[in-house]
């Protein structure tokens, strides 16, 4: 699980940007594992600071995700649901789309092909 143990330095990066009055985008970069909890939850907090109702996860630069990372997405989803917010995603390649389907996270997180689609709500 730990990339450190496998001799690979783990890098997680999260940038938050606004996309309209009620939507924020989190650009997820690098690795998403259980060690990403701090950066991911901080980014979520920043993304919803101004009462945004929708958080869009951009996975274009996702390089690695393990089951710990998927667990974090569930935690974030619960937090969003509790606050009446919606989470969706775009930029998932075929591999990560399959993981979302396998773990059945796609039941709760709408997946879009592009940023434009995710913002317009189309498929």
């Amino acid at each position: 699980m730990s990339q450190e143990g496998m001799g690979v330095e783990q890098t997680t990066g999260m940038d938050v940007r606004r996309a309209g009055e009620r939507t924020s985008i989190i650009d997820v970069k690098g690795d998403v594992t259980s060690a990403s909890e701090g950066p991911l939850m901080d980014a979520f907090q920043k993304a919803t600071d101004n009462g945004e109702r929708r958080v869009v996860l951009n996975f274009n630069d996702l390089e690695y995700m393990n089951s710990g990372g998927i667990g974090l997405l569930v935690t974030m989803l619960v937090r969003a649901k509790r606050q009446g917010q919606q989470i969706c995603a775009f930029g998932l390649n075929e591999h990560y789309r399959q993981i979302f389907e396998l773990t059945r996270l796609d039941d709760a997180i709408s997946i879009f092909d592009s940023e434009e689609d995710s913002l317009s709500g189309g498929s």
Partner: protein
């Protein structure tokens, strides 16, 4: 869309499949509630969302990868008596499906299973099928810490249906705690260590998902009990 290069984790995940399929299982095992079932994660469950963590600290000279390798190879041997895990003889690999027969009071058994959703050198994760006691994931992992090598089982789960939710409230959590306490104690003994098991239970979401109450129709405990009660009649017919 992301680029087309193969991600580093590509070989660690089970391939997407709609239904579970078991390989050969022993003739004396009760094979119910797995074949053809879909998997269910925390999103598909009914009850409160719990994160339960069970940990032991092993001597620092035990490598995390060594812990996971041993855990994968000897997984069924660490379980409490009367509980059986019929998995792949070759170990635990992404996409494997295993049958589980759990001992219940009064010589009853509960038949269910798991899918190996993820596995690498330092962790592996199971996902449960519809009808299992809970909908969720169990991640087994090991890592180095200042106090030694930590071996951990972490469950992220919702009770699958209202009946299981009641069961969890009235002894089910305690029973599960005892189960993993035994497993981790046995794992530690495998490495010649006698350790106390540390347990943490956190309620991540107190809300129940009432739209999932219909999961009751898949309840493996009900189906296993009906099957067990019918055994004498099936024997007489044969």
């Amino acid at each position: 869309m992301g680029d087309a290069k193969t991600p580093r984790d590509a070989g660690n995940w089970a391939q997407r499949g709609t239904d579970l399929h078991l390989g050969d299982v022993p003739a004396d095992a009760i094979n119910l509630n797995v074949e053809g079932r879909s998997v269910a994660g925390p999103v598909q469950g009914f009850g409160k969302l719990w994160q339960k963590t069970y940990r032991v600290v092993l001597p620092p000279d035990v490598e995390p990868a060594g812990v996971i390798s041993a855990w994968k190879s000897h997984f069924p041997e660490f379980w409490p008596p009367k509980n059986h895990f019929y998995g792949n003889m070759a170990g635990i690999n992404p996409g494997d499906v295993a049958l589980i027969n759990m001992g219940l009071p009064g010589r009853m058994k509960l038949s269910t299973g798991i899918l190996v959703m993820y596995a690498d050198d330092e962790s592996f994760t199971f996902m449960t099928p519809q009808g299992h006691m809970f909908a969720g994931w169990i991640t087994f992992s090991a890592h180095s810490a200042p106090e030694g090598t930590v071996a951990q089982a972490q469950v992220l789960m919702r009770a699958s249906d209202p009946l299981y939710e009641i069961g969890l409230a009235f002894g089910g959590h305690r029973q599960e705690d005892r189960f993993w306490e035994h497993t981790l104690t046995m794992l530690a003994r495998h490495f010649g260590a006698e350790c106390e098991v540390d347990m943490q239970r956190v309620c991540v979401d107190k809300k129940r998902q009432w739209k999932r109450a219909g999961n009751l129709k898949h309840n493996a405990a009900i189906r296993s009990t009906i099957y067990m009660l019918g055994t004498p009649f099936r024997r007489r017919k044969a």
